[in-house]
Protein backbone atom coordinates (compact mmCIF):
# COMPACT_ATOMS: atom_id res chain seq x y z
CA UNK A 1 0.00 0.00 0.00
CA UNK A 2 3.01 2.32 0.04
CA UNK A 3 2.62 5.26 -2.30
CA UNK A 4 5.23 5.67 -4.96
CA UNK A 5 7.95 8.16 -4.22
CA UNK A 6 7.64 11.03 -6.65
CA UNK A 7 10.38 13.30 -7.90
CA UNK A 8 9.81 16.79 -6.51
CA UNK A 9 11.03 19.71 -8.56
CA UNK A 10 11.24 23.41 -7.75
CA UNK A 11 11.03 25.53 -10.91
CA UNK A 12 12.27 29.03 -10.36
CA UNK A 13 13.23 32.14 -12.24
CA UNK A 14 15.89 34.06 -10.40
CA UNK A 15 16.45 37.72 -11.13
CA UNK A 16 14.39 40.33 -12.83
CA UNK A 17 13.57 39.07 -16.30
CA UNK A 18 9.90 38.51 -16.97
CA UNK A 19 10.06 35.80 -19.60
CA UNK A 20 8.67 32.64 -18.09
CA UNK A 21 7.20 30.85 -21.09
CA UNK A 22 10.03 28.34 -21.12
CA UNK A 23 9.96 27.79 -17.35
CA UNK A 24 6.19 27.30 -17.37
CA UNK A 25 6.35 24.90 -20.30
CA UNK A 26 9.02 22.84 -18.56
CA UNK A 27 7.00 22.81 -15.33
CA UNK A 28 4.19 21.22 -17.31
CA UNK A 29 6.54 18.84 -19.11
CA UNK A 30 7.89 17.59 -15.76
CA UNK A 31 4.38 17.19 -14.34
CA UNK A 32 3.37 15.23 -17.45
CA UNK A 33 6.38 13.00 -16.79
CA UNK A 34 4.88 12.16 -13.39
CA UNK A 35 6.88 14.58 -11.24
CA UNK A 36 5.48 16.94 -8.62
CA UNK A 37 6.50 20.42 -9.67
CA UNK A 38 6.38 23.48 -7.44
CA UNK A 39 6.37 26.54 -9.63
CA UNK A 40 7.59 29.53 -7.62
CA UNK A 41 7.15 32.22 -10.22
CA UNK A 42 9.14 35.24 -11.32
CA UNK A 43 11.71 37.42 -9.61
CA UNK A 44 13.00 34.96 -7.05
CA UNK A 45 16.07 35.65 -4.97
CA UNK A 46 18.49 32.75 -4.40
CA UNK A 47 17.42 32.84 -0.72
CA UNK A 48 13.75 32.38 -1.65
CA UNK A 49 14.54 29.51 -4.01
CA UNK A 50 16.65 27.69 -1.44
CA UNK A 51 14.06 28.23 1.31
CA UNK A 52 11.44 26.70 -1.00
CA UNK A 53 13.73 23.73 -1.77
CA UNK A 54 14.26 23.23 1.96
CA UNK A 55 10.60 23.37 2.95
CA UNK A 56 9.41 21.30 0.01
CA UNK A 57 12.20 18.72 0.45
CA UNK A 58 12.95 19.05 -3.26
CA UNK A 59 14.99 16.55 -5.24
CA UNK A 60 15.66 18.99 -8.07
CA UNK A 61 15.92 22.75 -8.47
CA UNK A 62 15.42 23.96 -12.04
CA UNK A 63 16.63 27.49 -12.76
CA UNK A 64 15.76 29.47 -15.83
CA UNK A 65 17.45 32.68 -16.89
CA UNK A 66 17.25 34.72 -20.05
CA UNK A 67 18.70 37.97 -18.83
CA UNK A 68 22.36 37.12 -18.39
CA UNK A 69 22.36 36.86 -14.59
CA UNK A 70 23.10 33.12 -14.53
CA UNK A 71 26.79 33.50 -13.64
CA UNK A 72 25.82 35.07 -10.35
CA UNK A 73 22.48 33.46 -9.54
CA UNK A 74 23.06 29.80 -10.42
CA UNK A 75 26.28 29.35 -8.37
CA UNK A 76 24.74 31.35 -5.52
CA UNK A 77 21.80 28.92 -5.34
CA UNK A 78 24.21 25.96 -5.25
CA UNK A 79 26.23 27.65 -2.51
CA UNK A 80 23.19 28.41 -0.34
CA UNK A 81 21.86 24.88 -0.78
CA UNK A 82 25.19 23.57 0.54
CA UNK A 83 25.05 25.99 3.47
CA UNK A 84 21.65 24.59 4.43
CA UNK A 85 22.91 21.02 4.15
CA UNK A 86 21.00 20.36 0.95
CA UNK A 87 24.01 18.96 -0.91
CA UNK A 88 21.98 16.18 -2.46
CA UNK A 89 19.65 18.48 -4.38
CA UNK A 90 20.24 18.33 -8.13
CA UNK A 91 20.55 21.80 -9.66
CA UNK A 92 19.91 22.18 -13.37
CA UNK A 93 19.75 25.35 -15.43
CA UNK A 94 18.37 26.51 -18.70
CA UNK A 95 17.58 29.55 -20.78
CA UNK A 96 19.95 31.73 -22.74
CA UNK A 97 23.35 30.65 -21.50
CA UNK A 98 26.41 31.40 -23.68
CA UNK A 99 28.44 28.29 -24.46
CA UNK A 100 31.56 29.72 -22.82
CA UNK A 101 29.74 30.05 -19.47
CA UNK A 102 28.66 26.41 -19.25
CA UNK A 103 31.96 24.99 -18.01
CA UNK A 104 32.13 27.57 -15.21
CA UNK A 105 28.56 26.84 -14.11
CA UNK A 106 29.23 23.12 -14.06
CA UNK A 107 32.36 23.70 -12.02
CA UNK A 108 30.25 25.71 -9.58
CA UNK A 109 27.97 22.72 -9.07
CA UNK A 110 25.22 23.13 -11.67
CA UNK A 111 24.73 19.56 -12.87
CA UNK A 112 23.56 20.40 -16.37
CA UNK A 113 22.72 23.37 -18.54
CA UNK A 114 20.03 22.98 -21.16
CA UNK A 115 19.90 25.58 -23.90
CA UNK A 116 17.08 26.38 -26.31
CA UNK A 117 16.16 23.47 -28.55
CA UNK A 118 17.07 20.77 -26.05
CA UNK A 119 14.64 17.86 -26.35
CA UNK A 120 12.42 17.74 -23.29
CA UNK A 121 12.71 13.96 -22.98
CA UNK A 122 16.47 14.41 -22.75
CA UNK A 123 16.01 16.72 -19.75
CA UNK A 124 13.59 14.31 -18.08
CA UNK A 125 15.99 11.42 -18.60
CA UNK A 126 18.86 13.43 -17.14
CA UNK A 127 16.84 14.20 -14.02
CA UNK A 128 15.64 10.64 -13.58
CA UNK A 129 19.19 9.31 -13.98
CA UNK A 130 20.82 11.79 -11.67
CA UNK A 131 18.66 12.34 -8.61
CA UNK A 132 19.95 10.74 -5.46
CA UNK A 133 18.08 8.26 -3.32
CA UNK A 134 16.11 6.53 -6.04
Amino acid sequence: MTAKKRIKVIMAKPGLDGHDRGAKLLARVFAEAGMEVVYTGLRQTPEMIVEAALQEDADVVGLSSLSGVHNYFFPRVVELLKEKGLDDVLVVGGGIIPEEDVAGLKKAGVAAVFGPGTRTDEIIKFIEDNISGS
Binding site: T2, R6, V37, Y39, T40, Q55, K84, L86
Partner: protein, 317 residues
Protein backbone atom coordinates in the same frame (compact mmCIF):
# COMPACT_ATOMS: atom_id res chain seq x y z
CA UNK B 1 14.22 7.31 12.64
CA UNK B 2 13.89 8.36 16.27
CA UNK B 3 16.57 10.96 15.58
CA UNK B 4 14.44 12.48 12.86
CA UNK B 5 11.47 12.96 15.18
CA UNK B 6 13.75 14.34 17.90
CA UNK B 7 15.20 16.85 15.44
CA UNK B 8 11.71 17.96 14.41
CA UNK B 9 10.80 18.52 18.05
CA UNK B 10 13.99 20.53 18.49
CA UNK B 11 12.95 22.81 15.66
CA UNK B 12 14.89 21.55 12.64
CA UNK B 13 13.13 22.72 9.49
CA UNK B 14 15.14 20.28 7.40
CA UNK B 15 14.06 17.35 9.59
CA UNK B 16 10.43 18.45 9.39
CA UNK B 17 10.59 18.66 5.58
CA UNK B 18 12.09 15.16 5.41
CA UNK B 19 9.62 13.68 7.86
CA UNK B 20 6.75 15.13 5.84
CA UNK B 21 8.12 13.42 2.71
CA UNK B 22 8.29 10.05 4.49
CA UNK B 23 4.71 10.36 5.71
CA UNK B 24 3.53 11.62 2.32
CA UNK B 25 5.13 8.58 0.65
CA UNK B 26 3.42 6.29 3.18
CA UNK B 27 6.83 4.93 4.15
CA UNK B 28 6.80 1.58 5.95
CA UNK B 29 7.77 3.39 9.18
CA UNK B 30 4.98 5.96 8.88
CA UNK B 31 2.79 4.60 11.67
CA UNK B 32 5.77 4.34 13.99
CA UNK B 33 6.89 7.90 13.20
CA UNK B 34 3.41 9.36 13.66
CA UNK B 35 3.11 7.52 16.97
CA UNK B 36 6.25 9.33 18.12
CA UNK B 37 4.85 12.68 16.97
CA UNK B 38 1.38 12.30 18.45
CA UNK B 39 2.17 13.13 22.12
CA UNK B 40 3.35 16.60 21.04
CA UNK B 41 0.24 17.52 19.07
CA UNK B 42 -2.93 19.36 20.02
CA UNK B 43 -1.57 22.87 20.47
CA UNK B 44 -1.86 24.39 17.02
CA UNK B 45 -5.05 25.99 15.80
CA UNK B 46 -6.04 24.57 12.43
CA UNK B 47 -7.62 26.86 9.85
CA UNK B 48 -9.11 25.39 6.67
CA UNK B 49 -9.53 27.43 3.52
CA UNK B 50 -11.64 26.02 0.72
CA UNK B 51 -13.54 27.24 -2.33
CA UNK B 52 -13.74 26.95 -6.10
CA UNK B 53 -10.63 27.32 -8.28
CA UNK B 54 -9.65 30.95 -8.78
CA UNK B 55 -11.58 32.42 -5.88
CA UNK B 56 -8.34 33.61 -4.27
CA UNK B 57 -7.60 30.98 -1.62
CA UNK B 58 -3.81 31.19 -1.93
CA UNK B 59 -3.71 34.97 -1.87
CA UNK B 60 -6.00 35.01 1.17
CA UNK B 61 -3.79 32.44 2.87
CA UNK B 62 -0.79 34.68 2.27
CA UNK B 63 -2.53 37.77 3.66
CA UNK B 64 -3.99 35.99 6.68
CA UNK B 65 -0.51 34.62 7.39
CA UNK B 66 0.93 38.16 7.30
CA UNK B 67 -1.62 39.39 9.85
CA UNK B 68 -0.91 36.41 12.11
CA UNK B 69 2.83 37.08 11.82
CA UNK B 70 2.28 40.71 12.84
CA UNK B 71 0.63 39.28 15.93
CA UNK B 72 3.79 37.25 16.56
CA UNK B 73 2.20 33.93 15.78
CA UNK B 74 4.13 31.23 13.93
CA UNK B 75 2.43 29.66 10.93
CA UNK B 76 2.59 26.46 8.91
CA UNK B 77 0.82 26.32 5.57
CA UNK B 78 -0.22 23.22 3.63
CA UNK B 79 -1.30 24.01 0.09
CA UNK B 80 -2.95 21.13 -1.74
CA UNK B 81 -3.23 20.93 -5.52
CA UNK B 82 -4.51 18.04 -7.66
CA UNK B 83 -2.39 15.20 -9.05
CA UNK B 84 -3.06 14.15 -12.59
CA UNK B 85 -5.15 10.98 -12.64
CA UNK B 86 -3.39 10.13 -15.92
CA UNK B 87 0.30 10.67 -15.21
CA UNK B 88 0.37 10.98 -11.41
CA UNK B 89 2.32 14.21 -11.78
CA UNK B 90 1.24 17.57 -10.41
CA UNK B 91 1.82 21.24 -10.96
CA UNK B 92 1.80 22.88 -7.54
CA UNK B 93 1.28 26.59 -8.05
CA UNK B 94 0.03 27.97 -4.76
CA UNK B 95 3.44 29.13 -3.62
CA UNK B 96 3.48 31.83 -6.32
CA UNK B 97 0.72 33.69 -4.47
CA UNK B 98 2.51 33.35 -1.16
CA UNK B 99 5.56 35.46 -1.99
CA UNK B 100 5.36 37.61 1.11
CA UNK B 101 5.11 34.65 3.44
CA UNK B 102 7.64 32.53 1.60
CA UNK B 103 10.34 35.08 2.38
CA UNK B 104 9.70 34.65 6.12
CA UNK B 105 11.66 31.84 7.76
CA UNK B 106 9.06 31.56 10.53
CA UNK B 107 6.49 30.52 7.96
CA UNK B 108 6.76 26.96 6.70
CA UNK B 109 4.92 26.33 3.45
CA UNK B 110 4.51 22.87 2.04
CA UNK B 111 2.82 22.10 -1.28
CA UNK B 112 1.08 18.75 -1.49
CA UNK B 113 -0.39 16.84 -4.41
CA UNK B 114 -3.61 14.90 -3.82
CA UNK B 115 -2.09 11.66 -5.20
CA UNK B 116 -5.45 10.26 -6.18
CA UNK B 117 -7.37 11.18 -3.05
CA UNK B 118 -10.75 12.77 -3.62
CA UNK B 119 -12.35 15.09 -1.10
CA UNK B 120 -10.11 18.13 -1.51
CA UNK B 121 -7.07 16.99 0.48
CA UNK B 122 -4.30 14.40 0.17
CA UNK B 123 -4.68 11.19 2.16
CA UNK B 124 -1.89 12.22 4.51
CA UNK B 125 -2.75 15.92 4.95
CA UNK B 126 -4.11 15.43 8.47
CA UNK B 127 -0.81 13.79 9.49
CA UNK B 128 1.21 16.65 8.01
CA UNK B 129 -0.92 19.04 10.11
CA UNK B 130 0.12 17.03 13.18
CA UNK B 131 3.81 17.28 12.26
CA UNK B 132 3.64 21.08 11.95
CA UNK B 133 1.69 21.16 15.21
CA UNK B 134 4.34 19.10 17.04
CA UNK B 135 7.07 21.29 15.52
CA UNK B 136 5.46 24.14 17.43
CA UNK B 137 3.56 26.19 14.88
CA UNK B 138 0.81 28.23 16.55
CA UNK B 139 -1.35 28.05 13.44
CA UNK B 140 -1.60 25.53 10.64
CA UNK B 141 -3.47 26.77 7.59
CA UNK B 142 -4.68 24.13 5.15
CA UNK B 143 -5.65 25.28 1.70
CA UNK B 144 -7.64 22.66 -0.22
CA UNK B 145 -7.61 22.03 -3.94
CA UNK B 146 -10.09 24.16 -5.85
CA UNK B 147 -13.30 22.38 -4.97
CA UNK B 148 -16.59 21.88 -6.74
CA UNK B 149 -19.47 21.07 -4.46
CA UNK B 150 -18.74 17.79 -2.80
CA UNK B 151 -15.26 18.04 -1.29
CA UNK B 152 -15.84 18.51 2.41
CA UNK B 153 -12.91 16.62 3.96
CA UNK B 154 -11.35 19.85 5.21
CA UNK B 155 -14.10 20.20 7.82
CA UNK B 156 -12.85 16.96 9.39
CA UNK B 157 -9.36 18.42 9.77
CA UNK B 158 -9.81 22.12 10.53
CA UNK B 159 -11.03 23.82 13.70
CA UNK B 160 -12.36 26.74 11.66
CA UNK B 161 -13.34 26.28 8.02
CA UNK B 162 -13.56 29.24 5.67
CA UNK B 163 -15.44 28.90 2.38
CA UNK B 164 -14.16 31.44 -0.14
CA UNK B 165 -16.52 32.66 -2.84
CA UNK B 166 -16.05 35.09 -5.68
CA UNK B 167 -18.60 36.80 -7.91
CA UNK B 168 -19.51 35.46 -11.33
CA UNK B 169 -19.65 31.74 -10.63
CA UNK B 170 -23.35 30.97 -10.25
CA UNK B 171 -26.80 32.10 -9.22
CA UNK B 172 -28.86 31.96 -6.02
CA UNK B 173 -29.54 28.26 -6.31
CA UNK B 174 -25.80 27.52 -6.09
CA UNK B 175 -25.70 29.15 -2.68
CA UNK B 176 -28.60 26.99 -1.48
CA UNK B 177 -27.10 23.63 -2.36
CA UNK B 178 -25.66 20.96 -0.09
CA UNK B 179 -21.97 20.12 0.25
CA UNK B 180 -19.24 22.72 0.50
CA UNK B 181 -21.69 25.49 1.45
CA UNK B 182 -22.64 23.47 4.53
CA UNK B 183 -19.19 23.30 6.09
CA UNK B 184 -18.50 27.03 6.45
CA UNK B 185 -17.87 28.47 9.88
CA UNK B 186 -17.19 31.66 8.00
CA UNK B 187 -17.81 32.83 4.45
CA UNK B 188 -15.52 35.12 2.52
CA UNK B 189 -16.74 37.01 -0.52
CA UNK B 190 -13.41 37.79 -2.17
CA UNK B 191 -12.78 40.02 -5.19
CA UNK B 192 -15.44 42.27 -3.67
CA UNK B 193 -14.61 45.07 -6.12
CA UNK B 194 -15.88 43.03 -9.06
CA UNK B 195 -19.34 43.31 -10.47
CA UNK B 196 -21.83 40.95 -8.89
CA UNK B 197 -20.07 40.99 -5.51
CA UNK B 198 -22.90 42.73 -3.68
CA UNK B 199 -25.46 40.32 -5.12
CA UNK B 200 -23.32 37.38 -4.06
CA UNK B 201 -22.96 38.87 -0.59
CA UNK B 202 -26.70 39.20 -0.16
CA UNK B 203 -27.29 35.67 -1.52
CA UNK B 204 -24.89 34.21 1.02
CA UNK B 205 -26.50 36.28 3.75
CA UNK B 206 -29.87 34.86 2.75
CA UNK B 207 -28.45 31.35 2.95
CA UNK B 208 -27.08 32.03 6.44
CA UNK B 209 -30.45 33.41 7.50
CA UNK B 210 -32.25 30.37 6.07
CA UNK B 211 -29.85 28.11 7.96
CA UNK B 212 -30.71 29.82 11.23
CA UNK B 213 -34.42 29.35 10.53
CA UNK B 214 -34.04 25.68 9.60
CA UNK B 215 -32.01 24.68 12.62
CA UNK B 216 -31.11 26.52 15.77
CA UNK B 217 -27.35 26.89 16.05
CA UNK B 218 -25.22 28.69 18.60
CA UNK B 219 -22.93 29.97 15.85
CA UNK B 220 -24.10 31.91 12.84
CA UNK B 221 -21.49 32.01 10.07
CA UNK B 222 -20.46 35.59 9.36
CA UNK B 223 -19.91 36.77 5.80
CA UNK B 224 -16.76 38.84 5.30
CA UNK B 225 -15.95 40.93 2.23
CA UNK B 226 -12.34 41.03 1.07
CA UNK B 227 -10.17 42.17 -1.83
CA UNK B 228 -7.21 39.96 -1.04
CA UNK B 229 -4.80 41.26 -3.70
CA UNK B 230 -5.24 44.78 -2.30
CA UNK B 231 -5.03 43.53 1.28
CA UNK B 232 -8.53 44.84 2.02
CA UNK B 233 -10.75 43.24 4.62
CA UNK B 234 -8.04 40.96 5.97
CA UNK B 235 -7.91 42.38 9.51
CA UNK B 236 -11.71 42.01 9.92
CA UNK B 237 -11.41 38.47 8.53
CA UNK B 238 -8.78 37.51 11.10
CA UNK B 239 -10.99 39.11 13.78
CA UNK B 240 -13.88 36.92 12.63
CA UNK B 241 -11.65 33.84 12.78
CA UNK B 242 -10.57 34.77 16.32
CA UNK B 243 -14.20 35.25 17.26
CA UNK B 244 -15.08 31.77 16.05
CA UNK B 245 -12.11 30.40 17.94
CA UNK B 246 -13.26 32.05 21.19
CA UNK B 247 -16.76 30.76 20.58
CA UNK B 248 -15.46 27.19 20.17
CA UNK B 249 -13.38 27.47 23.31
CA UNK B 250 -16.00 29.04 25.51
CA UNK B 251 -18.80 26.76 24.39
CA UNK B 252 -16.70 23.63 24.92
CA UNK B 253 -17.15 22.84 21.24
CA UNK B 254 -13.45 22.92 20.46
CA UNK B 255 -12.87 19.96 22.76
CA UNK B 256 -16.00 18.20 21.54
CA UNK B 257 -15.16 18.69 17.85
CA UNK B 258 -11.60 17.55 18.33
CA UNK B 259 -12.79 14.44 20.12
CA UNK B 260 -15.08 13.64 17.19
CA UNK B 261 -12.19 14.21 14.76
CA UNK B 262 -9.98 11.89 16.77
CA UNK B 263 -12.73 9.31 16.70
CA UNK B 264 -13.09 9.55 12.91
CA UNK B 265 -9.33 9.43 12.36
CA UNK B 266 -8.84 6.44 14.62
CA UNK B 267 -11.71 4.65 12.93
CA UNK B 268 -10.26 5.36 9.48
CA UNK B 269 -6.87 4.09 10.63
CA UNK B 270 -8.46 0.95 12.03
CA UNK B 271 -10.34 0.33 8.77
CA UNK B 272 -7.12 0.76 6.77
CA UNK B 273 -5.23 -1.66 8.98
CA UNK B 274 -8.02 -4.23 9.01
CA UNK B 275 -8.37 -4.23 5.26
CA UNK B 276 -4.59 -4.34 4.78
CA UNK B 277 -4.25 -7.31 7.16
CA UNK B 278 -7.23 -9.18 5.84
CA UNK B 279 -6.26 -8.66 2.21
CA UNK B 280 -2.72 -9.84 2.91
CA UNK B 281 -4.13 -13.09 4.31
CA UNK B 282 -6.73 -13.56 1.62
CA UNK B 283 -4.55 -12.69 -1.36
CA UNK B 284 -1.35 -14.15 0.08
CA UNK B 285 -2.10 -17.85 -0.46
CA UNK B 286 -3.10 -17.73 -4.12
CA UNK B 287 -6.42 -19.47 -3.52
CA UNK B 288 -8.36 -16.30 -4.17
CA UNK B 289 -8.06 -16.76 -7.93
CA UNK B 290 -9.34 -20.32 -7.65
CA UNK B 291 -12.33 -18.95 -5.81
CA UNK B 292 -12.92 -16.38 -8.56
CA UNK B 293 -12.92 -19.18 -11.15
CA UNK B 294 -15.58 -21.00 -9.14
CA UNK B 295 -17.66 -17.84 -8.87
CA UNK B 296 -17.36 -17.18 -12.60
CA UNK B 297 -18.44 -20.78 -13.25
CA UNK B 298 -21.43 -20.14 -10.97
CA UNK B 299 -20.43 -22.96 -8.62
CA UNK B 300 -20.28 -20.37 -5.86
CA UNK B 301 -21.58 -16.85 -5.38
CA UNK B 302 -19.53 -13.83 -4.25
CA UNK B 303 -21.85 -12.97 -1.34
CA UNK B 304 -21.57 -16.29 0.49
CA UNK B 305 -17.88 -16.57 -0.40
CA UNK B 306 -17.03 -13.30 1.33
CA UNK B 307 -18.85 -14.42 4.47
CA UNK B 308 -16.94 -17.71 4.38
CA UNK B 309 -13.59 -15.95 4.08
CA UNK B 310 -14.36 -13.65 7.00
CA UNK B 311 -15.57 -16.47 9.24
CA UNK B 312 -12.23 -18.22 8.67
CA UNK B 313 -10.25 -15.10 9.64
CA UNK B 314 -12.50 -14.10 12.51
CA UNK B 315 -13.77 -17.50 13.75
CA UNK B 316 -15.79 -16.07 16.67
CA UNK B 317 -18.32 -14.35 14.45
Amino acid sequence: MDDLVAEVLQGSVRAMARLITLIENEDSNALYLMAAIYPYTGNAYVLGITGSPGTGKSTLTDKITSVLREREQTVGVIAVDPSSPFTGGALLGDRIRMQRSSGDAEVFIRSMATRGNLGGLARTTADIVKIMDAFGKDWVIVETVGVGQDEVEIAKTADTTIVVLAPGLGDTIQSMKAGVMEIADLYVVNKADRSGADELLSQVNVRVEQDSQIKKAAWQAPVVKTIAVENQGIEPLVEAIEKHRSFLRQSGKLRKNRREKTRQETLALLKDEISRNVLEKVLGNGRFDDLIDEIVAHKKDPYTSVQEILSKIFPEE
